[in-house]
Amino acid sequence: MRVGVDVGGTNTDAVLMEGDAVLASFKAPTTADVESGIVGAIRAVMADADVVAESIESVMIGTTQFTNAFVEGRRLVEVAVIRAALPATASVQPLLDFPERLANAVGNHPYLVPGGYEFDGREISPLGEKEVLAAARDIKRKGLNSVAISCVFSPINDAMEKRIAEILRNEINDVELTLSTDIGRVGLIERENATIMNASLVELSKMVVGSFRTALKNLNITAPFFVSQNDGTLMSADYVERYPVLTFASGPTNSMRGAARLSGQDNAVVVDIGGTTTDVGVLVHGFPRESAVSVDIGGVRTNFRMPDILSIGLGGGSYVRDGERLTVGPDSVGFELTEKALVFGGDILTTTDIAVAAGAVDIGDKSRVKNINAALVKNSLAEIHRLIENAIDRVKTSVEDSPVVLVGGGSVLVTQKLRGASEVNIPDKSAVANAIGAGMAQVGGEIDRIFSYETEGRDAAMAWAKEEAIQRAVAAGAVADSVQILEVEELPLTYMPAGAVRLRVKAVGDLAMRKGGDG
């Protein structure tokens, strides 16, 4: 049996799962100390299903704490940045594009040293060991305790980043190190930014992981625990302590994966209709399709593995305006729905009022909407469906109809068949979809590198990349037999000789379960 927990800004949810079955679920407000909220939620599901701590095999936790901390610039530590690259890249210094507030929070401590690789693996310069040593001493003198290490084309070869780490460890006691190869993909600035973000979160991550450990200890749960990454796979407690940045955006990913699991769909469009917005994404083999474009977090550009989610201004609280042209949204009464909507005694016509007038749902005082004329109700519903259908069509990858999974409080707005949907599933328990998504227990491995097909041969390069991705998944805790290749992406480089190809392979497997241990 496993426990899935989702620690959101508002609620902490827990589910108890056995295989695909959800044995119990519980929703509680997130507490200031986080820990007591988790303890309370897990205790509730264990009591509900009458389960003792010893039968829990693993605990999976999804959390938005790190994303929120970074975006708000709270509880971050100052970071030194060492980039191995000279004579290249001096034209763009580290931290250049951080918004002022975040730049102040992480400090301004960049060190550029000789080093780095060419796209074909040659060295730009040998690593400047003297310069790294000098940087290490300066970092020590400044009393900085967290260092972000980047290197040009380190996704091709991580040797220089590792050597820099070694020098720093020899020079500074208890220094926290983040290597860019462990964080991101090709794209120096974006990868380096994400590395700096991670390095700024190391103190917080120790505290958060510590509080998770204490929570489980208080429950007498000795099973290992894991934390969700942004792509929906899990990482071990030790790993998240070192790489908190990999939890960014795990919330929407878990929500999509959980919803799909509840509806038994592995390939589907997930439509999550909230109060203000509708988030639409695509699941491919149970995982969200990743965004192809760069993602800004708190105004900082990164190239994370983020789910490709389209947000539109439609929700249960959206304004309906019957002017020259009928419009729905994009503005919403939001959390004030229960005061401002007509059915709740307010004076604003919202989508919820339309759904009540149409008889699709019975909430509030429906007598307050009985005078809305039938044409307005009909036209508003048509507009709501048009907006959703457009969004579905935009995220789909082909013209064929796709199964649609509908979740969120606003799903009552959907009263008719949706164009583009081969079927519409509205699963039960979708209120705890995040926790279920967290509890899905899969781990992954990824490789992203430039190969020369001319010298290595396509088959050999492909085989090597696949094997490496599988090995990384196993190293992350997957059962070797269960690992499958999830994605293969081949991108030939433009303006280059034929045969230079960027190859990205991702493998995913089931988490190896074991009782006991402390993760």
Partner: protein, 364 residues
């Protein structure tokens, strides 16, 4: 005019639009410029209408693969070495810097070199857009020699090219570029003030800033940014014909990499004003020919841009995908790019297309 922190984002947005689907992401270029501006750089822009004939300018640009640019960031100092080498060969100093390309990442590099050398930058270029090869430049069309061309790597190693044609220079420099690590910093097409006036596409730097500004202001004032862009061209200092050719969504993208180029077609189904119609746009790094229901509506070198229909943000041929809601717009190329000599170098047939060039305004 000056380039400052205040108009930098407008300039970058405009340069991306003039990239006509290619030219590389100007993001890294913006960061490089930002660094120079923060150091207090003062980048003077010279109006080509007002320069004297004895101005002596050098064109600068990066060569290489966009995938390498995002990792091994272009090096302004290497470009300065290329400029100095050309001066050595010619035995004469330059007193201005110039862009060869107005669209994409190469629009930004001359400004960085301007900042590093203190030389002013000429408000003109050799394309008024982006093109994939070094010979596809108005300077070449009207007899300006690309040579001496110098390319330099990050270590300061440089190669000087003295070739019979611009094509040959392109061919050789492209090969050396691979050995230089997939990116090299180039200086070529040395030009006098007279040659600039005779051959360049004028005011394209200001054009980028102003179209970027038109789009931003439209967004801020909740007007349609694509319409505002079209209006801008029709009322600009050098008015040009511009029109929305198609309003639709991407239903298919066929794309492959051939000899280092992204080659393919994007298919669109019409929405709103274009409902019931179909559109197909062929590309080779940049957009080349747009057809609506089988009829040609725009041909290279006229600019064909694919813009997000809500925000007017430029969408590149590499990032197009199913479901994108876009407007395809056409903008007439400057007259200097539409002569028979120019069309022989970068008209549809130079890209192995079977159509001849027809001006956008005659296809409407």
């Amino acid at each position: 005019m000056k380039l400052t922190k205040d108009n930098l984002h407008d300039f970058i947005r405009g340069a991306a639009i003039l990239g006509t689907g290619g030219g590389g992401d100007p993001y890294v270029g913006r960061l490089m410029l930002e660094q120079e501006l923060r150091k207090g750089a003062d980048i003077e822009i010279l109006d080509p209408d007002n320069i004297s004939d004895d101005v002596f300018a050098i064109n600068v640009f990066s060569m290489g693969a966009p995938t390498v640019f995002v990792e091994k960031i272009p090096n302004g100092a290497a470009t300065v070495i290329s400029v100095r080498k050309v001066e050595q060969v010619l035995g004469r100093k330059f007193n201005a810097i110039m862009p060869v390309e107005a669209g994409g990442v190469n629009a930004t590099l001359p400004l960085i070199v301007g900042a590093l050398t203190g030389l002013p930058v000429i408000d003109a270029d050799g394309m008024g857009r982006a093109f994939p090869e070094l010979q596809m430049v108005t300077y070449n069309v009207y007899g300006v020699d690309i040579c001496p061309l110098v390319t330099t790597d990050d270590y300061g190693n440089s190669v000087t090219y003295e070739t019979d044609t611009a094509q040959r220079a392109e061919w050789l420099a492209r090969g050396v570029c691979v050995r230089m690590g997939g990116i090299s910093q180039a200086a070529g097409y040395p030009m006098t003030g007279r040659q600039i006036k005779d051959t360049a596409v004028r005011h394209t730097l200001t054009l980028s800033v102003e179209i970027g500004q038109a789009v931003r202001e439209a967004r801020e004032q909740h007007r349609d940014p694509v319409d505002s862009l079209i209006d801008y061209f029709c009322t600009a200092r050098h008015p040009r014909h511009a029109a929305t050719l198609f309003d639709g969504k991407v239903v298919d993208v066929l794309r492959e990499t051939k000899q280092g180029f992204t080659v393919g077609r994007v298919m669109l189904d019409g929405i709103e004003g274009s409902t019931g119609k179909h559109c197909e746009v062929t590309f080779r790094n940049e957009f080349l020919i747009a057809k609506t229901d089988g009829r040609v509506v725009a041909t290279v070198p006229d600019l064909i841009c694919c813009l997000d229909r809500e925000t007017a943000e430029s969408i590149t041929t590499e990032s197009l995908k199913y479901g994108n809601r876009v407007k395809i717009i056409g903008i007439a190329a400057a007259p200097v790019m539409r002569t028979p000599e120019a069309l022989a170098v970068f008209g549809p047939r130079a890209f192995m297309m079977e159509n001849d060039f027809t001006p956008l305004e005659e296809l409407g």
